[in-house]
C-alpha cells in the first residue's frame, strides 16, 4: 500500500540532500504562486467581504424566506438526483463490466457525455425534450405529468449532470473485484442474490458512497443546465446559485456574497468528505488484495 502524505520532520539540509530529482523549488513555487493568484486570493476576497457584514446583516441575508426555500430545493433535488444516480449508475456500471452486448463500447464512451457537453446545451436540450411539445413531454402532458419548468425538471437535469460520477467511481472497483470471492460464495451454497448483497455490495459500497457524494456536490453548485428547465419561480423552483445571480443583478453584492459564502463552506465540507471517503475506499481495496 502506498503511504499517503507523511510529513517527515527533518532538518532542511538533510531534506534537500535526499531529493535526487531537480525542480522541486521551481515547480512547487510556481504551483503555489498560480494557486494563490487564481484560487486563494479571489476566494479570500469572498471571505473578507463577508466579514464586512455585521452578524445580523449576514443572518438576514442567508436566512431570508426565499433563500431558505432555495436551500431546501437545492439540497432536496440534489439528494434525490444523487440517489437516482446511485441506483442507475450502479446498474450501468454493472452492465458495462459484467455483460457483453452490441454497442457496449459506444455506451461506455457516452457515459462521459455530461462531462463533455456544455451545461447550457444540456439545459436547453432537456427543456426541448420535456416541454409540452417535446419528444417526451408530449406523452407525459396528457397523463397530467409536467416534467419541465418545475421541480421535476430540476431533478432530471441534476440526474443528467451527476451520472458519470457514480458510473466512473464504481466501474474500476467492479473491474478489479476478484472472481474467486464470488466463486467461493457460490461453492458455499449462496444464491446469486446473497452473493451480490453479502459479498459484492459491501466491497463496492465505499465507491458508491464516493460517487453519491461527488454527484451530490456537483448538483448543489449546478447552474447552467438547471436554469433553463427550472421555471425559476421564487419560493418554488429557484435554486441557490440563481439567488446569488439575482442578488447580484439587484446590486446587492453583500447579500450575494453572504449566500455564496454559505455555499462555499458547504462545498468545502463536501470536498473534505469526498477526500475522506476516497481514502477509506483505497484502504478497503488495499486491505482486500493484500
Amino acid at each position: 500500500m502506498s503511504a499517503t502524505t507523511l510529513p517527515v520532520p527533518s532538518l532542511p539540509a538533510t531534506r534537500t540532500k535526499r531529493r535526487v530529482l531537480p525542480g522541486f523549488n521551481i515547480t512547487l513555487g510556481f504551483t503555489i504562486f498560480y494557486l494563490s493568484l487564481i484560487v486563494l486570493i479571489p476566494l479570500s476576497a469572498l471571505v473578507f467581504k463577508t466579514f464586512t457584514l455585521t452578524w445580523t446583516e449576514f443572518c438576514e441575508a442567508v436566512t431570508g424566506a426565499r433563500v431558505m426555500a432555495s436551500y431546501r430545493l437545492t439540497f432536496g433535488a440534489s439528494f434525490l438526483a444523487a440517489l437516482v444516480n446511485v441506483v442507475f449508475g450502479l446498474l450501468v456500471a454493472w452492465v458495462l463490466v459484467r455483460y457483453s452486448f452490441p454497442g457496449k463500447k459506444i455506451i461506455d464512451a457516452l457515459v462521459d457525455l455530461p462531462f463533455a457537453l456544455p451545461t447550457a446545451v444540456a439545459g436547453i436540450s432537456l427543456t426541448a425534450l420535456l416541454a409540452g411539445n417535446g419528444w417526451i413531454g408530449q406523452f407525459m402532458e396528457p397523463l397530467g405529468i409536467q416534467l419541465a419548468f418545475n421541480r421535476n425538471g430540476i431533478v432530471i437535469a441534476l440526474i443528467f449532470i451527476g451520472l458519470p460520477f457514480v458510473v466512473r467511481t464504481v466501474q474500476p472497483v467492479l473491474e478489479e473485484m476478484e472472481k474467486e470471492l464470488e466463486e467461493a460464495a457460490s461453492c458455499l451454497g449462496a444464491t446469486r442474490w446473497q452473493t451480490f448483497s453479502r459479498v459484492i455490495f459491501p466491497s463496492i459500497a465505499p465507491a458508491l458512497l464516493t460517487g453519491f457524494a461527488m454527484a451530490f456536490a456537483r448538483a448543489i453548485g449546478e447552474y447552467g443546465s438547471v436554469i433553463f428547465i427550472a421555471g425559476n419561480m421564487p419560493m418554488i423552483s429557484e435554486i441557490t446559485p440563481l439567488i446569488i445571480i439575482s442578488k447580484l443583478e439587484q446590486y446587492d453584492y453583500a447579500g450575494a456574497t453572504a449566500v455564496a459564502c454559505v455555499m462555499l463552506v458547504i462545498s468545502f465540507m463536501l470536498l473534505l468528505l469526498i477526500n475522506g471517503l476516497q481514502g477509506w475506499q483505497r484502504r478497503r481495496s488495499g486491505g482486500s488484495t493484500s
Partner: protein
C-alpha cells in the same frame, strides 16, 4: 471445461433473463438521459432546414461568440497545462509539509459552484471590489470584459490536467527519473525524455477535458460577462441569449457546434484510451515475467 468449472461459472453470473432485463433497463436509462438530449440538439437545430441552420451560424454575433470562445480556450488551456505539469511534478515526486493542503487547493475549483467562481472575480476586480477603484482610475476593464471571462474560465478548469497527472505520476514512482539523473541527464532532459513519454496519454486526456470545459463553461462566465452582444458573449452565453429571445433554431444551431465539440472530445478520449491500452499490452508482451510463463503453461 469440466463440470466443476462450469458450475462455478454458473455461480458467478446471473440467469439469462436477469442479464437481459438489466441490460435492457440500463440501455433504456442511457437512451432517455443521454442519447435523446444529444439527438434533440441536432434535430432542433435542423427544424427549419439546412439553410436556416447555416444562416444562424453565419450571423456576425455568432461568429464573434465563436472567436471569443476560441480565444478563451487558447489562453486558459495552455496556462493550466503548464500549471498542471508543474503541480503534478511537485506533488507526485516529492514529500513536503502541507502537501495535502496544496492538493485540496488544486481540487477546490471542482467543488465550488460556477456562480461562486464568477462572483469572487467580481469581488476582486469589480467596481466595488478590492482593485476596482484602481482599475477604474487606470481605465482597465477586467470584469464584464474579456479578461474576466478568461480568468473565470481558468479558475473552473484549474484541476483538470493536474488531477489527471498526479495519480499517474505517483503510480510510476521516481525510479526512472532518478536513474536518468544518475546517468547525467539534466532535469529538463529527464522530464522531456523520461517523464513525458510515460504521462503523455494522461496529459492529452487532461488537455481535451480541460478544453471542453473551457469552451463550454456557462455559470462562472455568465457572472463576469457583461452580456454585451458581439463583445463579451461566449458561445454558451450566446446560446442562452438566443434561447431567451425565442430564436430556438439559432440557439440550437450554436448549441450543435458545442455538442459536436463534446462528441469530438469523447472520440479523442476513446482513441487515447485505446492507444494507452495497446501500449500497455505491447509492454507486457515485451517483458517475459515468470508469472506470464506460468499462466501460459497451465
Amino acid at each position: 471445461m469440466n463440470t466443476a468449472l462450469r458450475s462455478a461459472r454458473k455461480g458467478t453470473t446471473e440467469a439469462a433473463w436477469v442479464r437481459y432485463t438489466l441490460i435492457g433497463v440500463a440501455m433504456l436509462f442511457m437512451l432517455l438521459f443521454l442519447v435523446l438530449p444529444l439527438a434533440a440538439v441536432f434535430t432542433e437545430a435542423m427544424r427549419k432546414g439546412l439553410d436556416a441552420y447555416l444562416d444562424a451560424l453565419k450571423d456576425p454575433d455568432a461568429w464573434s461568440a465563436i472567436r471569443l470562445t476560441l480565444l478563451t480556450a487558447a489562453v486558459a488551456v495552455p496556462l493550466n497545462l503548464v500549471f498542471g505539469v508543474s503541480a503534478a511534478w511537485a506533488i507526485a515526486k516529492y514529500e513536503f509539509w502541507g502537501k495535502s493542503f496544496v492538493t485540496t487547493l488544486v481540487d477546490l475549483p471542482f467543488s465550488v459552484s460556477p456562480v461562486v467562481a464568477g462572483l469572487i472575480y467580481v469581488l476582486v476586480f469589480g467596481a466595488q471590489g478590492w482593485f476596482g477603484p484602481w482599475l477604474m482610475a487606470h481605465d482597465i476593464k477586467i470584469v464584464f470584459a474579456v479578461p474576466g471571462i478568461i480568468l473565470a474560465t481558468i479558475f473552473v478548469t484549474v484541476p483538470f490536467i493536474a488531477r489527471e497527472l498526479i495519480p499517474l505520476m505517483q503510480a510510476q514512482g521516481n525510479d526512472e527519473e532518478q536513474a536518468a539523473i544518475v546517468l547525467g541527464a539534466t532535469g529538463w532532459q529527464t522530464f522531456w525524455y523520461v517523464t513525458l513519454p510515460n504521462i503523455k496519454w494522461g496529459l492529452i486526456y487532461g488537455v481535451i477535458l480541460c478544453n471542453a470545459r473551457a469552451m463550454g463553461e456557462f455559470g462562472a462566465v455568465s457572472v463576469v460577462s457583461g452580456h454585451i452582444r458581439g463583445q463579451t458573449n461566449t458561445m454558451p452565453l450566446h446560446v442562452e441569449i438566443l434561447y431567451n429571445e425565442y430564436q430556438s433554431v439559432a440557439a440550437f444551431a450554436v448549441a450543435s457546434l458545442l455538442a459536436l465539440l463534446a462528441l469530438v472530445t469523447l472520440l479523442i478520449k476513446q482513441v487515447v484510451e485505446w492507444q494507452h491500452e495497446r501500449e500497455m499490452k505491447s509492454l507486457s508482451d515485451l517483458s517475459p515475467e515468470p508469472t506470464v510463463h506460468l499462466k501460459a503453461a497451465s
